[in-house]
């Protein structure tokens, strides 16, 4: 794991953003996080430097849908993208294209272990 990886959180639910931050702090204390709480800022952020190591991406977002952000991020960055959604049908549709899809609610401790694995690579 590099010293201080950057993780971009695109999620409109403030409690979940906080949950991700706590889980990431448990993974590694030096992690930096960037948070976008709507689709529009998320889309702008993925097209800007610095490139995050990991993106935690929700699908149903205000203004711009997560699927569109996913497409842009996939084209413009080499970041690892984890789609985290509560929409199981959309999650099924994303399975064929996305690298990692996690449905809410998830087991927090297993999710933490999963983040450890992803950030190690």
């Amino acid at each position: 794991m590099s010293d201080s990886p950057l993780v971009l959180i695109i999620e409109d639910d403030a409690d979940l953003v906080r949950l991700y931050e706590v889980l990431l702090s448990l993974v590694c204390t030096s992690i930096h996080t960037d948070v976008c709480m709507d689709g529009k800022t998320g889309l702008e952020r993925v097209q800007r430097e610095p490139e995050p190591r990991l993106i935690l991406l929700d699908l149903h977002l205000p203004h711009v849908q997560g699927t569109e952000i996913y497409k842009t991020a996939r084209e413009k960055t080499s970041s690892t993208i984890v789609v985290v959604t509560a929409d199981v049908l959309a999650a099924k549709d994303m399975l064929s294209t996305a690298d990692h899809v996690v449905t809410k609610p998830f087991d927090a401790l297993m999710f933490k272990d999963f983040l450890v694995k992803l950030l190690k690579h």
């Binding site: 639910d13 409690d15 979940l16 949950l19 706590v22 889980l23 448990l26 149903h60 509560a86 929409d87 199981v88 049908l89 959309a90 449905t103 809410k104 609610p105 998830f106 087991d107 927090a108 401790l109 999710f111």
Partner: protein, 519 residues
């Protein structure tokens, strides 16, 4: 060659043309009349030319050829009869091409008179009345019911008889009465045949009309397209449903046509010798409701899952970080209850998807033995907690792999085994897998629990039903598991059944095809 055939066809079409008439019987008679007239005109022309071509121009002009013809018995009569016939037939041919209204009988009547006249002048009067020309008299009598109403065969027979009698009197002969009787016999047979034909046509028309009225008045749209893609039938409902899209609909093969503000469903069927036919239904409202329901489900599911993720996530972290045993225990309870809520949300979503027909099953190769082992690993702990024996037995003949949706099979097994453990206080829960005849396989889950009272058995697979009244039972659950399991098994093309007696435990049996056709 093809050009010749086409030209010939066009010529025939032109010659046999009849104006459109309101009465289908008259239309049919006039069409026959057109053909008869054309063939008789050709016959008369041939007879005339045969005579005329034997003489030079001068002889024809001076009329000397008639004097020459008198040397042959009957030749002059035949010549004059043909000329008279040709003139009459041409007039009838022309008349028949007009619609004529109330005078529609005129061409047929004219043809009868002309043919009778032609026959009367076909030969010398003696030859005509003594039976040699009897065969010719049959012609107008047999023709009459084809080109005029059936009873006119007798009119033709009477006219012929009068003509023969007049000829006989004119040459001072008694005539041949047997021949005259024969003409009435022919008229009778002709009338019978024509009546039978008209009766058959009438009942066929009646049947066709009945069907037409039904098709015209059914509430659903009916569209029939021939093999070339041309519309044969489009009833008023179909025209109303499709509007300007009618032509487009005729060429489409999909089962749905969406235009702004309207969705029409087609059920196509191939019909041999006709083409294809579709029943059309307006499903706009139905689709709107389905879409609204899907959207609502998605939203509800999303809105429940997101806070659940936060609740269980923070509870797990609290449990992990807390040094205080009581706090850890309470955090674990929050996590467990959030897990139950998650299960309920999943069940509700499954139930709604199954009912809406939107649940899609995947198709992959699944190992029943592997599935059984997974269930043993997953549910073994739960049985152990209640100090129950959990037996898993895979019969050696069980297929190594079957086609199915592994995730959903797993879900059904977890439901059945979970229920068995939940409702059993002591004894054993067993899972068996085996082969069944006719390319099927199955599994059974039995327990030594309380069993299900006979009165509860019929609706055990209904949603939101439980083996006993919810309030009096200490067990948790919404009562969706069995309902979802049954519907999943049925979607997989299988069957589920239960055998149980109060106090004797229960056995659930599932039978599935080894090759699942995609539903």
């Amino acid at each position: 060659m093809n050009t010749m055939i086409t030209c010939f066809r066009r010529l025939a079409d032109w010659l046999f043309r009849v104006p459109p008439l309101p009465d289908p019987d008259e239309q049919r008679r006039r069409a026959i009349l057109a053909r008869v007239a054309v063939f008789l005109i050709a016959g008369c022309l041939a007879l005339l030319l045969n005579t005329l071509l034997s003489y030079d121009f001068g002889q024809l002009l001076s009329g000397a050829f008639l004097a020459d013809l008198e040397q042959f018995p009957g030749a002059v009569q035949m010549f004059l009869g043909s000329a008279f016939g040709l003139a009459g037939l041409l007039v009838i041919f022309g008349l028949n091409r007009l619609s004529l209204g109330q005078l529609g009988w005129l061409p047929g009547f004219g043809l009868l008179v002309t043919v009778t006249g032609m026959v009367a002048f076909a030969d010398t009067p003696r030859e005509v009345i003594d039976g040699r020309s009897l065969m010719l008299w049959v012609l107008p009598i047999a023709l009459a019911p084809l080109i005029l109403p059936a009873w006119t065969a007798f009119l033709a027979a009477t006219t012929s008889t009068v003509a023969i009698s007049a000829l006989a009197l004119s040459i001072g002969d008694e005539g041949n009465w047997y021949s005259l009787l024969a003409l009435y016999a022919i008229a009778f047979v002709s009338w019978l045949a024509a009546n039978a034909l008209e009766g058959a046509l009438r009942s066929a028309r009646h049947e066709a009309e009945k069907n037409r009225v039904i098709v015209e008045n059914v509430a659903d749209g009916v569209l029939v397209v021939d093999q070339g893609g041309a519309i044969q039938i489009a009833n008023p409902a179909a025209r109303r449903l499709l509007g300007a899209d009618l032509e487009q609909a005729a060429s489409q093969v999909e089962s749905r046509l969406e235009s702004p503000g309207r969705i029409v469903e087609f059920s196509w069927a191939q019909i041999q010798g006709v083409g294809r036919a579709a029943v059309l239904r307006d499903i706009t409202r139905q689709v709107e409701i389905e879409r609204a329901k899907d959207a609502m489900l998605g939203t509800v599911s999303h809105e429940l899952r997101t806070p659940l993720a936060a609740i269980s996530g923070f509870a797990e972290i609290i449990g992990l970080l807390s040094q205080n045993e009581k706090i850890s225990e309470m955090a674990a309870r929050i996590t467990a209850n959030a897990g139950r809520l998650k299960g309920l949300v999943n069940s509700l979503l499954d139930q709604a998807q199954i009912q809406a027909g939107t649940l899609k099953l995947s198709s992959e190769m699944v190992s029943p033995a592997r599935l059984a082992m997974d269930i043993r690993d997953l549910m073994g702990g739960l049985a152990q907690e209640k100090q129950l024996a959990f037996e898993v037995f895979v019969h050696p003949q069980t297929p190594e792999t079957v086609e199915g949706d592994a995730e959903r099979l797993h879900q059904v097994l977890v439901n059945l085994v979970g229920n068995a453990i939940k409702f059993t206080e002591r004894g054993t829960v067993s899972l068996r897998m085996y082969e069944l005849p006719e390319k099927k396989w199955g599994f059974s889950v039995s327990d030594t629990g309380d069993g299900i009272p006979a009165a509860r058995l019929p609706d055990i697979f209904e949603p939101f039903r439980r083996g006993a009244d919810y309030a009096t039972r200490p067990r948790q659950g919404a009562g969706l598991g069995l309902s979802i399991s049954k519907q999943l098994v049925e979607l997989m093309g299988g069957e589920i059944s239960v055998q149980s007696e109060s106090g004797q435990g229960s056995t659930f049996e599932v039978c599935l095809p080894t090759n699942r056709r995609l539903v």
